[in-house]
Amino acid sequence: MQVPKVVEIKRIEEESPTVKTFIFDWKVDSEKPGQFMMVWNFEDEKPMSLSLIDNVKNEIGISIRSVGVFTEQIHKLQIGDKLGLRGPYGRGFDISGIKVLAVGGGIGMAPIVAYSEEASKMGVEVHIVSAASTMDELLFSDRIKRSGAKLLTCTDDGTHGYCGYGTDLAEKALSEENYDMVVSCGPEIMMEKLFNMVEKYEISSQFSLERYMKCGLGLCGQCCVDDQGWRVCVEGPVFWQDELRMITEFGKYKRDSSGQKHKI
């Protein structure tokens, strides 16, 4: 039944000055990295990626960047406070390949860290490009290192790791190593650049998209993308590159809650 399940916040991790992870007890079943939950704070309900999936401790986590009314409200919550969660929704990352380059930008690192833990556990060699504006905003570095993945960091201001864009660092990695899969989540401008790059290298790849969501059930049509009409909440949010080639609005525009288009 697609109804919010009200759960208590079990732990809160301060990941950066703007990002907190909220962890809940949750019977983990088929949850996959790249899938998302609809999160209800009894006023509004918004999509958030799973950033932690632990099928041993039966815990899940979501990591939220404070950017507006809803996310600020959630940042004020304490351990023991309640939220309603429904999901998991959508198609997550397919975990395959032998040596994978995972590129995460900003809060896009949320599904990437979950991917890194799961894929490493399954014996995939994962290299992560973690991109942030500045050192304090680099996310999940400890968890990534613990997962066994190789971490490559970059910051816009050069305060940590490579100085420059995640795509530059990814290009460097792609030219030096032999990857057979690329996965990514982050600002669409970054992903579009990466997509064009990966097309050149002819490597299989998967990208996680964000669009305005209402139902999360594949009914309202709010999250449909041109030209195929696919629903990001059902057919996505993760798309393979051959599908992305048919998503003509990728990198160009997206629709708001009324359906009006806005440039990306």
């Binding site: 919010p4 309202c220 049509g221 709010q222 449909c224 195929q228 696919w230 009324s258 359906g259």
Partner: protein, 285 residues
């Protein structure tokens, strides 16, 4: 056909339904101006369906026209319109007339704001004025979508037919209904109330169609809870000449159109029906 408001807010998703076997597509209802709709949660599942209070979100007729221009026209397209009065309906109708094959007037949404929706469809006089006004303004066929939330659906159906409605679409979502979270006592929908749709409303749709079929001569488009070809047969027998599918896309995905067509064709072969027309209204002996 694809029912109004299930996907359908972009040309892409309407074309997709056409590709998937829908014989025609109805757009999301749109109005004169952009509307963000209600805040989330706007939908929640209940036994036998969902309740929704999307709140008729749409980008407004001018933006929507750019979507209608991109329809690939592989199947007929029907624009669903909403407004608060005859002038508004006619204004929108005139602006999109050249881009679609027919109009469906949504006078029946159970959770619309500002006097739109079922506030109209519960009032035979206002329904009559709106249909009359739109009929005078456009040449393409005009369908009127009725709400089941009335004491006498036959009366409303007749008033629409009297002033020239070309077909009736029955039914819009029911209620409104409500769902409350038992952990916290919060109503789940932000709007508290929302229209009920899905398999749970099917018996009511069947009854409404059965009642109206005897009293009007115009075709009835059946909608409400259809999930498989057996459901479609019931609608045809009750008096619908064609049907729309909405909520069940949540359970079955876009493949539902193809699956239903296959099942229906097999049934018709087995029973020796040469055409759907021969099945319409069979329950009226």
């Amino acid at each position: 056909m694809l029912a109004a408001g299930i996907l359908g807010s972009t040309a892409s998703s309407l074309n997709w339904a056409g590709r998937s076997g829908a014989g025609a597509v109805v757009t999301k209802s749109f109005g004169l101006n952009p509307n963000k709709g209600y805040a989330n949660p706007t939908t929640v599942e209940v036994t036998g369906g969902v309740i929704n209070a999307i709140g008729l979100s749409n980008p407004g007729v001018e933006n929507f026209k750019t979507e209608l221009e991109k329809l690939n026209k592989s199947v007929p397209a029907i624009a669903s319109l909403y407004g608060a009065n005859p002038e508004e309906f006619s204004e929108i109708a005139t602006r999109v007339e050249d881009l679609v094959d027919a109009l469906e007037l949504n006078v029946s949404c159970p959770h619309a704001m500002g006097g739109c929706g079922s506030a109209i469809g519960q009032d035979p006089e206002l329904t009559r004025e709106i249909v009359q006004s739109v009929k005078k303004s456009v040449k393409i066929p005009v369908f009127v979508k009725l709400t089941p939330n009335v004491t006498d659906i036959v009366e409303i159906a007749r008033s629409a037919e009297d002033v020239g409605a070309d077909a009736l679409t029955m039914i819009n979502s029911l209620g409104p209904g409500m769902r409350i979270d038992i952990e916290t006592g919060n109503p789940i929908l932000n709007n508290k109330f929302g229209g009920l749709s899905g398999p749970a409303v099917k018996p009511i749709a069947i009854r409404c169609i059965y009642e109206v079929y005897d009293s009007v001569d115009i075709p009835i488009i059946g909608v409400g809870g259809i999930r498989n070809y057996e459901d479609v047969i019931e609608f045809l027998y009750a008096g619908a000449s064609c049907i729309q599918i909405g909520t069940s896309i949540m359970y079955e995905g876009m493949d539902i159109f193809g699956k239903i067509l296959t099942g229906l064709e097999r049934f018709m072969d087995d029973k020796g029906y040469g055409s759907v027309n021969g099945m319409v209204g069979i329950a009226h002996k």
